[in-house]
Every structure is written in C-alpha cells, then in structure tokens.
C-alpha cells in the first residue's frame, strides 16, 4: 500500500487499485444498476407486448403507434406540457426578483433569507400539496374566509378540481427550486461588469437589460429545467387538487402500472416523456451556449 514519497510524478497517479475499486464500488453499483439498468428495462419493456407477464412478450412498436395515433394521449401530453410550462414560467418569473434581491440588496440578511427560501424545499411535498387542498376546498379556507369577510354569500366550487388549481399548487410546491440557481448565476456576475456599464453611461434599467439579464440566463435556464422536469411528470397534484379535467401524463403512467395493468404501454409513455424532456434539455443547452455559459 505505501509508496516512497519524493519520487512521485503526480499524487493522482499512485492511487492504489484496491482503494480505487472500493471507492468506486458503492456509487458504481447504484448508478449503473439502479439508474442505467433500470432505465434500460423501461426502454426494453416499451417495445414489448402486454401478456400480463413481467417483461411482456414479443418485439413490437405497437405501444408507440397507439400513443401517436390516439388523440387522448396528444391531449394529455399537450395539457402536461402547458401546465408544466405555465408552472415553470410562473416560478422563474416570481423567483427572479427574489434572487436579484439576495444577490445585490440583501446585505447582512442574505444568509437568513437564503435559509428561509430553501427551508420549504426540505418539507414534505405531500403536505405542501395537502395544504392547498384545504385552502381551495368547497368548505375550505379560501371560501370560508371570503364568506366571513362578506365578499361572497355562497361558497364556490370554482377553486378545486381545475387545471388552474394544479398550476398554483405546483408553482407553490416547486417555488424554492427556482431561486437558488438564479441566485448563484447573479451572484457570480463580476461586479466590475456592472461598474463598467454605469461608467459608460448606461442607466440602471439598460444595465440590467443588457448586462445583468443575459449574464444570469444560465441560472434562469437551470431553474426552468429543475422546475419543468418534476412538474411535467407529476401525478400527485392532479390527483389531489386537479379533478378529472387535469389528468396529466404522469397520471396515465401511474394507472398503467396500477389499475390499467399494462406495463409495456406505461413504459412506452415513460419513454415518450423522457424524449420530451431530452428535447427540452437540448433546447436549454443550446440557449445556454448562446448566452455563453459560465458553468
């Protein structure tokens, strides 16, 4: 194990094989077996027919033909994309000023504020969604508060079981995801750039539009991605506050592995979702490169 010090070319070169193997083993098992192999199984299953057995039968593209030809799946996919897109837009736009304040104005309160905006991230997702259910319910918080203050006479059903409820709930649940990437991007903009802009006569808004905003775009894109990915596949929020009119693609996948019991078809739907996400990631990558990524 021990090697003679002094004659080494580089410390990295003398890592012992045993140490390397032991250190790579746990992570290697998890990443290759639980992530790559499991995802490979999904892709494999997507090309099989459903005969009730675990891995299906035959080799067929029928599942994808169904997805492509049945208008139901187009409707649901489109709805998932619109809902996830709106949620992403809402969270990023509302998070940007907060990140801006944290980066440029927070001063001594910065650490406390950073702590406060990240804390909800670590609380139960189920409970955050549940909170909105009691807010929006027919005999819930919002209705009763409006009646109590005399704004309305009768409780309304208009809040719960709508796609709008899904958007609001998801935007709230994933709000903490968006702030941190934008904050990091803003915080790493060299202060000399801002000074140069104002020295050269740029008004504050111009300097924001031409210097700060383009330089923070990598953070904005990263934020959009970490909000979009979990929301586009979500099935809990539509089930809790969305009602039948808000069925999302995650709901369909879940039911294929539950009540509908057609695993190969559910796998095909999952592959389609992953392809959509891949497209979004590639678009974000391209946009990132256009803005000159600093990460």
């Amino acid at each position: 194990m021990s090697t003679i010090a002094g004659t080494r070319p580089l410390p990295e070169n003398r890592i012992s094989p045993v140490f390397r193997f032991a250190m790579l083993l746990p992570g290697g098992l998890v990443t290759f077996f639980l992530i790559l192999f499991a995802l490979g199984l999904v892709v494999f299953l997507a090309f099989r027919g459903n005969d009730g057995s675990l891995l299906g039968v035959g080799l067929t593209a029928e599942n994808f033909v169904t997805v492509a030809t049945d208008p139901l799946y187009w409707t649901v996919t489109l709805r998932s994309l619109v809902i996830a897109g709106l949620v992403t837009l809402a969270t990023v736009v509302t998070a940007y000023p907060v990140a801006y304040y944290l980066a440029f104005h927070a001063g001594r309160r910065r650490n406390l504020l950073l702590f406060l905006v990240t804390l909800p991230f670590w609380t139960s997702y189920l409970l955050r969604v549940f909170a909105w259910k009691i807010v929006l319910a027919y005999n819930g918080v919002l209705n009763s508060a409006f009646i109590e203050t005399g704004l309305w006479k009768e409780p309304t059903l208009a809040f719960l079981n709508t796609p709008a409820a899904v958007v609001v709930t998801l935007a709230h649940a994933y709000a903490p995801f968006a702030i941190l990437p934008i904050y990091v991007a803003l915080d790493t903009i060299p202060k000399s750039l801002l000074e140069a802009a104002s020295d050269l006569g740029a008004r504050p808004f111009t300097s924001f539009r031409r210097v700060v905003l383009p330089n923070s775009m990598p953070g904005v894109l990263a934020a959009a991605l970490v909000v979009f990915v979990p929301t586009v596949g979500d099935y809990v929020t539509p089930a809790m506050v969305g009602g039948p009119a808000s069925t999302m693609i995650g709901t369909l996948i879940q039911s294929q592995f539950g009540k509908a019991n057609d695993w190969p078809f559910g796998a095909a739907l999952s592959v389609c979702v992953m392809l959509v996400i891949l497209c979004v990631v590639l678009v974000a990558r391209g946009a990132d490169r256009r803005f000159g990524s600093r990460t």
Partner: protein
C-alpha cells in the same frame, strides 16, 4: 448620489416583494398547524376554539406507529447508503482522475432530470425482475437513488472547499490513499457528512412519489397520510400529524443547513 438613491429605493421595493413572496411560500403550509389546533372537523374559518384532541388521536394508533417505525428505519438505512455513495462518488470525481469516476458522478446527478414517476416505475420493474418485489428493501434502494444527487452535491462542494495542499501534504508524508481519506479528508468534511446524512434522511422520510410504487404491505408515513386523505373524518388527525412532521423537518433541515455553512466558514478562515 442620485444613482445611489435609485438603487436604495429599488432595494426597498424589492424588499417588500421578497417579504410578500415569503408570506406566499409559508402561509399555506402554516395553515396546517393552525387548523390542527382548531376544534372542528373542517379546515374553515371562523376558528372554533383551541383543542389538543387531534393530537390525542395520534397516540395508540397501531397503523400510524407501524408506519412511523417503518419510515424511521428506512430513512436511517437509506440516509446511510446515500451518504456513503455521496462521499465516495464525489471524492473519486474530484481526486480519482479517471473517466469512470467522472461518469459515475455525472450519472449520480441524473435523477434530477427524471420525473419521480419514471424513477418509481423503472425501479418497480427492476425489483420485480430480481425477485425483491415491492418491499422495505426496495424502498431503501429507491431512496438511496432519490437522495443521491443531494449528497453528491453537498459532499462535492465540501471536498472542493478543502485546500488541495492538505491532501498533497498527507500523501507526501507517506500516508496511503486510504489513510489520507480516512484520517485527513473525512474528518475535515465531518459537518458536511452529517449534513448530507440529515438531508437524505429527510428526503427519504418525506418521499412519496417513488415510494407509492414500491410499498408492499408495510406503508411508510407519507403513504399512511395518503391513505387517510380519502376519509374526511380523519382530516384533523392528518393535520396534527402533518404539524409534527413539519416541525421535525424544520428542525432537521435547519440544523443541516447550519452545519453545512459553519463547516465551510471554518475551512475558509483557517485554510491551513
């Protein structure tokens, strides 16, 4: 001077906005504790008076205590696994200098780009294939996976903050890789290790989307809550339970964040 005044007034308006944002962030969640003390079966205004009745219903409920015990055991084991993987993956990514180590580290952060429902079904297929089926072992495996990106990010930033010279000095003085790792690098990152452990415990403890597919006959706490949501009568009990969970989550997450930043601050103050 006028530019400076502009910036200050900007800051004031932004400050008001941030305050409003925090209220939006916390208000819906804080309704759960508020109504858990409300003497009514419905979560609605006006409040009907203070009661601890709903907290009393939490005691002596065997289904609930079984779910809690399950969640605690699964959380601790999964946190141990995720932290171990996070430490080794990020250490080898930074110091292993091999393409394999870099690849593993990149894949370990991949679950961020996969929706939970797909992680859930892919593991459901896998555990059925290897004969585990939906079970506690399967849940532990899935939670190691779900918590892995977090532990890798936490440990990687911590290892990167330790001055390179410290590790090189240890190796120069004849310490083996293993000794350098165990006696030098690991103690220096102890606060981050603890932080990663606590955060991955929390992730496992609160996780619902993936565990939904993998639970056999023994539900975890979030699954128990989900099963109770069907019954309007158990709403107040769920809110009391939710309050307890939120309180514990806030304490654990707060401690983990403090540990993470305190550790880093100390490393920067005394770089050698």
């Amino acid at each position: 001077m006028s530019a400076r005044a502009d910036i200050n007034s900007d800051g004031r308006w932004l400050g008001v906005y941030v305050l409003g944002y925090l209220v939006f962030l916390y208000l819906p969640v804080l309704l759960i504790p508020l109504f858990s003390f409300n003497n009514s079966i419905q979560a609605a205004f006006p409040l009907q008076g203070f009661t601890l009745e709903w907290y009393r219903t939490l005691y002596g409920n065997p289904a609930l205590s079984d779910a809690l015990a399950n969640s605690l055991v699964i959380g601790v084991i999964a946190a141990f696994g995720a932290t171990l993987c996070g430490i080794t993956v990020s250490y080898m990514d930074l110091y292993g200098r091999s393409p394999l180590a870099a690849t593993i580290s990149a894949i370990a952060r991949l679950p961020i780009l996969i929706p939970g429902v797909i992680v859930g079904i892919s593991l459901l297929i896998l555990v059925n294939l290897i004969g585990l089926g939906p079970s506690r072992v399967s849940i532990v495996l899935s939670h190691i996976l779900v918590a892995l990106p977090t532990t890798v990010v936490v440990m990687r930033s911590r290892f990167a903050a330790i001055p390179k010279t410290i590790r090189e000095a240890a190796l120069d003085l004849g310490a083996s890789d293993w000794t350098t790792f165990r006696r030098v690098m690991l103690p220096l990152s102890a606060p981050a290790v603890l932080s990663a452990f606590m955060l991955s415990f929390l992730i496992s403890f609160d996780e619902f989307i993936v565990v939904f597919f993998l639970a056999g006959t023994e539900p975890t706490l979030p699954l128990y809550i989900w099963s109770q949501l069907r019954f309007p009568r158990s709403l107040p009990t769920v809110m009391a339970l939710g309050t307890v969970i939120l309180t514990v989550s806030f304490i654990i997450a707060g401690t983990a964040e403090i540990l993470r930043h305190r550790g880093l601050g100390a490393a920067r103050r005394n770089p050698a």
